[in-house]
């Protein structure tokens, strides 16, 4: 990698971590002064923890920019050049699954759900469910780029489906589901899967890669909403059967 490019990347990553951290810091400071008045020990661990998280985020984003962004594009270009376009479906399924499996915010959410539900919604159930949802929609999303199907043909039925399942599901699952949709589009998906989509779209040619690539992100945000609420329905059915 070019040294000048690397320095540019370092600067950009540093700024994006800083802009993510500053509003939080200001917010906490205001609360601490006017309302919280926490003892010094608590403040110290919050400051240390936030600094650790910021340093970690910096390293993580740098690593993603160096490793996953350029390679995602290479993988996407190779996939887009394939003669058999249907292969985009299994490739999207696999890549969507493993990318979400590595998405840090998805893990944080799954941990929080596990804790808040006292283990009733264990992480080993929630995490794979989110991954499966994203996997299916990444597969369909890549296929859509390959066959040039309009985005709304996937998004509108998806939202209709989400509305229908929402009608049937429990509040807890509905709540967790929409949050899962928010965290699934984290830094890894936004770089690796987006680069993948750009690569596929670019290799197929005759398309605006920006428009097609971003469409995939919109699909990824919708996917876990459907899969987590479906999990909720399955869990409830199993419980109902147990009671009989």
């Amino acid at each position: 990698m070019d040294v000048a490019l690397l320095i540019d990347e370092l600067k950009a990553t540093f700024w994006s971590v800083l802009t993510a951290l500053v509003p939080l810091a200001v917010f906490f400071a205001a609360f601490q002064i006017f309302l919280l008045k926490l003892p010094r020990g608590d403040v110290r661990s919050i400051v240390i923890g936030s600094a650790l998280a910021a340093a970690g985020l910096f390293l993580f984003l740098m690593g993603v920019a160096i490793a996953f962004l350029p390679f995602g594009r290479a993988v996407g270009a190779a996939l887009g050049a394939l003669e058999q376009k249907w292969l985009l479906l299994p490739a999207g399924l696999l890549l969507g699954y493993v990318t979400t499996w590595g998405e840090p915010a998805v893990r944080i959410l799954a941990d929080q759900v596990d804790e808040a539900s006292n283990g009733a919604l264990p992480r080993r159930l929630v995490l794979p469910t989110i991954c499966i949802g994203v996997a299916i929609y990444t597969g369909l999303g890549l296929l859509r780029i390959g066959y040039e199907i309009p985005l709304l043909y996937l998004l509108v039925p998806g939202y209709v489906l989400a509305l229908v399942i929402l009608w049937l599901s429990d509040t807890t699952f509905a709540a967790v589901a929409v949050d899962a949709g928010g965290v699934a589009t984290g830094p890894l998906a936004n770089t690796f899967l987006l680069a993948l989509a750009f690569g596929v779209s670019g290799a197929i040619g005759n398309q605006d890669p920006v428009l097609h690539g971003f469409g995939l992100v919109a699909l990824i945000a919708l996917a876990p909403i459907i899969s987590v609420m479906t999990l909720g329905l399955l869990v409830r059915r199993k419980e109902a059967r147990k009671e009989q």
Binding site: W15, T19, A20, L21, L24, F27, F31, L35, L36, I46, V47, I48, G49, S50, L52, A53, A55, G56, L61, G63, A65, I66, A67, F68, F71, A74, A78, Y97, W101, G102, P104, A105, R107, I108, L109, V113, A116, S117, L121, L151, L152, Y159, V160, L166, S169, D170, T171, T172, A175, V178, D179, A180, G181, G182, V183, T185, N190, V210, F214, A218
Partner: protein
Amino acid sequence: MISELKQRLSEASRAVAPLFGLVCLLQFTLVHAPAALFLQFIAGTPLVIGGMMLLFMGVEIGILPMGRFIGAALPRRGSITLIMAVAFAVGFAVTVAEPDVLILAGQVERMSQGAINGTIVLYVVALGVGTCVALAMARIVYGTSLRLLLGTAFAAVLVLSFFAPSAFVPLAYDAGSVTTGILTAPVVIALAIGLSSVLAGRSAAADGFGLLGFASIGAIIAVMIMGMVMQ
């Protein structure tokens, strides 16, 4: 501390390992990218794992407790206005700070050939997010049905998809997915869990979640409405 570090390291490695393995497999079977690019990939992966390890530790030690303390302190003054104002401020501030939202705003400006100012887009999205976070917080306090709130929001998104100018629709959906940053997600969740923990007779699982997702729907609706107003 050391055992904690080890545990986080093993978690981060297990998180990244499948993706790493799959990419390596694809490289040798299908992609055949230049060796330099592949080496760059190999070199960046330890950064990703190390960064994730620190991030997980920091979130546990600092970010989650911060959110929980603030959430639990909010009802102390007994003012719903304060709670909603704080929720709005959080939603607004984190959206304005999110780098991806800026990129999106630039796109809207380009798409409309400069007719729509990017800065306006930024504030419209932030307004949508802030309003939705405030509504979601009020819901926790009053115990309103989340399904009703979500159902209305989803239906609004669907209806607006057909009426908003077609160039705005994909952008609106993008706006929905760029609003939840990795540091803000745990804060917002912890905030809601903290708030729910001090209200009597609530389940943290049902109350603590939904804010983030609701925030992104707010962004979608805001951009679509803006598109309709602009035309």
